[in-house]
């Protein structure tokens, strides 16, 4: 097969037997559920654009294993150019979907494992890397969507995994068998989990020897026996159940997160990529995090949408010529392109690891993600400033369609005489969606905590920055001789 179409991807999901719960009920038809389907549409876009001549240069790559053309989301970066294309692909998809398209986490997981499994083998003489390559070939050949699952519920934040009152607060090995292992625990905040064919689990932090049972990485089919998905709520999520075409803001795409519970799940040995090598758990976390912090290139694309919406509402309001509005649009672009600088820079300054995989510049990837924890909030503030208060006081689409109230809405919410009130309402709903509705989960809060909270980036910046060189330069210029 090698590259699925969007339709083939959708059909492949229908064959999965996932245990999904939402609002306390089992969801039998996951693909067509109105709250979940927009997120499936967003992932499907990653398949669709790979077949599009005007996007394939970013969306596809050549497999270093088979030499075949593959979807870039299943590719292992072979040079700096691959890393740069990954950042550009993120911007493209963020702009085309206006949301989290969920597939980057799997790509980042595969790339991190391609580095760390090789390094474990080099130290311990294990055979994780060839095992991983075999699994990778399976993913590439079948063009599968992978959920990279790192974040444990973590219990008491002041205690190590083995010290937790509930030992399942971190996912762990509970049984070792001749043919594999049994694991128990959960992974939280799993983006795109129920749109995935596979789930690849990684440890969530650097482990000590007492935490050996928690230092585990493995892959499972997403519908493996014992896995349960509990969907997370999003602000304004039930608007998708109302049946309209306006109030959800983004009428095509969305994201989702879920709590994924592993209740005594069996993993065969050929799908285990780390087993109690505690000294490599931190390396896997840091490598994955670096790639995933680069992946926040997607927020530049979502920022493109927000800036486009802000300019449009300014024109619809008849305020686009006002100097302060124009200046705010400039400021929004300045912030957004600054984010773009970071994701391109960390890719351009990438390096080759011993396995042959190219990794981003870890310092710059952390700086980029740290900017992402801040700038989308200022972009959102500016967009709301430009939009005006109507964004949050606007009556519903049903009121617009009502024979009793529709005429008043069309009369009083018309601003620019060339623009129908409905168009003004639509663009306001999109800004609402991005800055405080369902898409704000991805654009704002995920921008803070996704791929690690701000403090995690500050720790990495302090570790990676070359402070001694800065001091040497300063001292030399003012005549200090140590």
């Amino acid at each position: 097969m090698t590259m699925m179409t969007a339709k083939e991807y959708e059909e492949s999901l229908r064959k999965l037997r996932l245990q999904v719960y939402m609002f306390g009920e089992r969801i039998e038809n996951v693909v067509d559920h109105p709250i979940i389907r927009p997120s499936m549409n967003a992932v499907a876009k990653t398949y669709e654009l790979a077949h599009s001549p005007e996007h394939e240069d970013l969306m596809t790559a050549v497999s270093h294993i088979t030499g075949k053309k593959i979807n870039r989301f299943t590719h292992i970066h072979q040079n700096v150019g691959d890393l740069v294309k990954k950042s550009k692909m993120g911007r493209l998809l963020g702009r085309e979907t206006g949301c989290c398209f969920q597939r980057c986490v799997g790509m980042d997981t595969l790339n991190a494992l391609s580095i760390v499994t090789y390094n474990i083998d080099s130290k311990y003489g294990t055979a994780y890397y060839p095992r991983f390559l075999k699994y990778l070939e399976y993913i590439q050949e079948n063009d599968l969507m992978v959920d990279g699952a790192m974040t444990d519920p973590k219990g008491h934040r002041g205690l190590a995994p083995h010290q937790q009152p509930d030992p399942d607060a971190f996912l762990r090995v509970v049984e070792e068998r001749k043919d594999g292992i049994v694991v128990r625990g959960a992974k939280a905040h799993q983006t795109g989990a129920v749109n995935s064919h596979e789930v690849v689990v990684m440890p969530t932090l650097s482990m000590r020897k007492e935490d050996a049972d928690y230092a585990v990485s493995f892959a499972l089919p997403s519908d493996a026996e014992g896995i349960t998905y509990i969907m997370g709520r999003q602000s304004c999520d039930t608007r998708k159940l109302e049946g309209g075409t306006m109030d959800q803001g983004n009428i095509l795409f969305g994201g989702h997160e879920a709590l994924v519970v592993f209740d005594n799940v069996f993993v065969p040995w050929d799908r285990v990529f780390m087993f109690r090598e505690v000294d490599f758990s931190g390396q896997l976390v840091e490598t994955f995090a670096a790639y995933h912090r680069q992946s926040y290139a997607c927020k530049v694309g979502v920022g493109d949408v927000l800036i486009g919406a802000a300019q449009t509402i300014a024109e619809y309001n008849g305020a686009d010529k006002a100097s302060h509005i124009r200046d705010k649009i400039v400021e929004m672009n300045h912030l957004n392109e600054t984010l773009y600088c970071g994701c391109i820079a960390c890719a351009s300054e990438g390096h080759k690891e011993p396995s042959g995989t190219y990794c981003v510049n870890i310092l710059l990837a952390n700086v980029h993600k740290h900017n992402v924890t801040r700038f989308p909030f200022e972009l959102s503030r500016l967009a709301q400033d430009i939009a005006g208060g109507l964004m949050v006081t606007l009556p519903s689409e049903k009121d617009l369609r009502s024979p009793d109230t529709g005429r008043w809405i069309r009369k009083y919410f018309k601003a620019n005489p060339d623009v129908p009130a409905e168009n003004r309402m639509r663009i306001l709903r999109l800004i609402e969606n991005l800055t405080l509705g369902t898409a704000a989960v991805g654009y704002l809060t995920e921008s803070i905590h996704g791929a690690g909270s701000p403090q995690a980036q500050r720790i990495m910046i302090s570790r990676r920055v070359n402070l001694a060189e800065k001091q040497r330069a300063a001292k030399k210029l003012c005549g200090i001789e140590d």
């Binding site: 001549p53 005007e54 394939e56 240069d57 970013l58 550009k88 493209l92």
Partner: protein
């Protein structure tokens, strides 16, 4: 024999113009002058590299043996059409 032309797009991360619309115009204006290669496997004589901006990052390594005509902005279209007509 009409020259066979292959269109190769950049990935379109942030294009400054509508690349697809420009190619449609190109094809309409060169109708009857050149033939269009439709896929990677289709043989061609020359390649039009449709770049969304001046960065021009489309991967052209597969087309190293061919004559490449770059487009990085809509203003390049007239020059390109003139050159193509001379070839045709």
């Amino acid at each position: 024999m009409k020259p066979r032309v292959r269109i190769k797009y950049c990935g379109g991360c942030n294009p400054k113009y509508d690349r697809v619309a420009l190619v449609e115009e190109l094809k309409a204006r060169l109708r009857g002058t050149v033939a269009w290669a439709s896929s990677d496997a289709d043989p061609c004589d020359m390649v039009v590299a449709v770049q969304g901006c001046e960065t021009a990052c489309a991967d052209l390594t597969a087309f190293a043996a061919y004559e490449i005509y770059p487009i990085t902005c809509p203003e390049d279209l007239e020059r390109l059409i003139e050159e193509m007509r001379m070839k045709g």
